[in-house]
């Protein structure tokens, strides 16, 4: 166990994978000499060489396309996209190729590419350094979509991703890259996909969140506790595959649900959770399902604190949901 920040945990996961598996390599913009613009790959090129930690030209199409070729050949590429906002030039490769290779080849060509990328707001990044577009990828059959919310999960889920047989989009909540420190197991620590974590038990309302919204949700739950509202906070971690069981079990218990994410509401990931409840837990629901999300606008700069869901807004929604009948 070592105390690490989230970005350090990512770095340690990469280090572990590079150390133990010669097929693992890293590629992306500024990942080598510079150690990544968030320092996630700091020190790795020095240790593993520029053939395993590869600085690429400025082309996300090229990064993901090349990673696909490497994966087809048998390597385990970990591609970094500098910001999720810049993943779109690679969208064709991701949607048409990464996600569909295994399927279209009848299982002949697995395409185990890991794409790591920092996502989300809270760093004053404006429209193009703040987006949370996980819903695009969650809607793309063939991809797995993972979002850690703490250092230990970041390491454990990333190592699982690198050794998974399927392609994984690994979204790193950059806002909490350095704000939280936590104990992280040394060595080949793995956290399985498809398992949500109950971060706080509660009987009154279920709060579903992931990534950088987790600390906000927990803070909200703690504030409400003094008011006599016991919120259960569930960290989804694995958006695809989703731990449906955990979601349904919690709502069957509480009868109430608040869903939290940074992304715009309309057709966001929260819509799927709410739909799941409307389909499979309708008779348990005692109150309308609430979504606390970014607004249906692009991400603003000066006013990001208005746009981003915070603990107060979450608490307000939980309170309202707890009282509704």
């Amino acid at each position: 166990m070592t105390d690490l920040t989230l970005v350090q945990a990512v770095n340690r996961a990469l280090h572990e994978a590079l150390s133990t598996d010669p097929d693992v390599l890293i590629l992306g913009e500024d990942v080598g000499v510079n150690g990544g613009v968030f320092r996630a790959t700091e020190g790795l090129q020095k240790e593993f060489g520029s053939e395993r930690v590869i600085d690429t030209p400025l082309s996300e199409t090229g990064i993901v396309g090349a990673a696909v070729g490497m994966a087809l050949y048998g390597l385990k590429p970990v591609a970094e996209i500098q910001f999720l906002d810049f993943i779109y030039p690679a969208f064709d490769q991701i949607v048409s190729e990464v996600a569909k290779f295994r399927y279209r080849s009848g299982g002949q060509y697995p395409c185990h590419v890991v794409i790591r990328t920092p996502y989300g707001g809270g760093i004053k990044g404006g429209l193009y350094h703040s987006q949370s577009s996980e819903a695009y990828f969650a809607h793309t059959a063939g991809l797995k979509v993972i979002v850690p919310s703490n250092p230990a999960d970041a390491k454990g889920l990333l190592l699982t991703a690198i050794h998974d047989e399927d392609p994984v989009l690994f979204l790193e909540p950059k806002r909490i890259y350095r704000s939280v420190t936590g104990e992280v197991p040394d060595g080949d620590h793995r956290v399985p996909f498809g398992q949500a974590a109950t971060v706080r038990e509660g009987s009154d309302v279920s709060v579903f969140a992931y990534g950088a919204m987790l600390p906000q949700a927990v803070q909200a739950a703690e504030a409400l506790s003094s008011e006599g509202v016991q919120a259960e906070v569930i960290d989804l971690r694995s958006l695809v595959p989703l731990d449906e069981k955990a979601v349904l079990a919690s709502v069957e218990k509480t009868g109430r649900a608040v869903i939290v994410h940074e992304a715009p509401r309309f057709c966001g990931y929260g819509a799927e959770l709410a739909a799941l409840l409307a389909e499979k837990a309708l008779y348990s629901l005692k109150a309308p399902v609430a979504r606390v999300t970014g607004f249906d606008t692009p991400f603003p700069y000066a006013l990001e604190h208005v746009y981003l869901p915070n603990a107060e807004r979450i608490a307000h929604a939980v309170r309202t949901t707890a009282r509704a009948s």
Binding site: S59, R104, P241
Partner: protein, 359 residues
């Protein structure tokens, strides 16, 4: 389990610089087989026995010349028009017809339109439709081969129109920077569906585009199997010697429609077509073979006959192969089915059992 193909002998691992005289007849046989199968497939499509088809006529010499210059261990990243490459590679007509039909023998499991196939054991990577995406894959695979120190090249196939794609730019740029052992084999057939080359790019030719990436580009007469073979063999030798990638522009002409959905008379003249028909690569090679005494008219007829018989046999077998099972659509989305997908599979099976869905 490698497939038993009745096609002519595929190339040996060691590839000489020039197509030797004794391989010329092999080349011709592959071209005859490709042409024969192509014609049959066009008919099958018209008859509704396959749903769609992309013909290759006019491009046989380019494809066979290229494929014969490669070793079986070289990785091929095709577009959708490379029937002759597949045949040279040893992929049998039966296997291809299974794919065109989408039956239970189709290793793509009926998931793709005809012409979108691939077979790992032949190092022939499964194609997709979006143009160009295979180009960056070929570069990435070449980087992987470099890392593994495997003495192979990767070859990607694409058309003139595809030089405008994002992946062309990204792929060639990465190849230049990382000096990958990659051959970019562009079949310039002068059209991207209806768009003529002059409207696709204002560059004097396509090979010159390699300059932008710092490696050689070569124009070659794609109607001549020998020139193509030489160009590819040279590019391959350079790549294996660590001298990096090559862009080869094989100038050909698509004699038929873009696909069975296309009507080329809308965008090109009969005169132009006639001019190119006169340069038919099969007629040209046959003429050379006759002239060099490597072929007699009667033997030629026999070759065509054998090809027809082979295709007929393969077709009968493919059409007798049972259909694919409906619930197979839930396989291979992931290495194993997540619970929600398994639930959908079960639901689908129930709907099939209840007759709500037809198999």
């Amino acid at each position: 389990m490698p497939d038993e193909s009745t096609a002519p002998t595929p190339p040996a691992a060691e590839v000489p610089g020039e197509l030797p005289r004794d391989r010329l007849l092999d080349a011709y046989r592959f071209m005859v087989l490709a042409r024969t199968m192509d014609e049959r497939c066009l008919t099958l499509q018209r008859q509704g026995r396959i749903g769609f088809y992309v013909p290759l006529q006019g491009q046989e010499a380019a494809q066979v010349g290229c494929a014969l210059a490669l070793a079986p261990s070289d990785w091929i990243f095709p577009a959708y028009r490379e029937l002759a490459v597949a045949l040279v590679r040893g992929i049998s007509p039966k296997l291809l017809l299974d794919q065109f039909i989408g039956n239970s023998g189709d290793e793509m499991k009926g998931r793709q339109m005809p012409n979108h196939y691939g077979y790992r054991r032949f190092n022939y990577v499964t194609a997709s439709s979006p143009v160009g995406t295979q180009i960056t894959h070929a570069v990435g695979a070449a980087m992987a081969a470099q890392r593994r120190k495997d003495p192979i090249v990767t070859v990607c196939f694409f058309g003139d129109g595809t030089t405008s794609s994002n992946d062309f730019h990204a792929g060639l740029n990465f190849a230049g920077v990382f000096r990958t052992p990659t051959i970019f084999f562009c079949q310039n057939n002068r059209y991207a569906i209806s768009l003529p080359l002059e409207r696709q790019t204002h560059s004097p030719n396509l090979a010159v585009k390699a300059t932008a990436y710092g490696f050689p580009g070569v124009v070659v007469d794609g109607m001549d199997v020998v020139s193509v073979h030489t160009a590819v063999a040279e590019a391959r030798a350079r790549a294996l010697a660590g001298e990096g990638p090559t862009l080869i522009e094989a100038q050909v002409y698509r004699l038929g429609p873009h696909s069975t959905s296309d009507d080329p008379r809308r965008y090109r003249s009969d005169a132009e077509l006639a001019e190119w028909k006169a340069k038919d690569p099969l007629a040209r090679l046959k003429h050379d073979l006759l002239a060099q005494g490597l072929l007699e008219e009667s033997a030629d007829a026999g070759l065509w006959e054998a090809a027809r018989a082979e295709v007929t046999k393969a077709l009968a077998e493919a059409e007798a192969t049972p259909p694919i099972t409906p619930e197979s659509i839930f396989d291979d989305v992931y290495a194993s089915r997540p619970p929600a997908l398994e639930e959908q599979r079960v639901e689908c099976l129930r709907l099939l059992q209840e007759g709500i869905l037809k198999p």
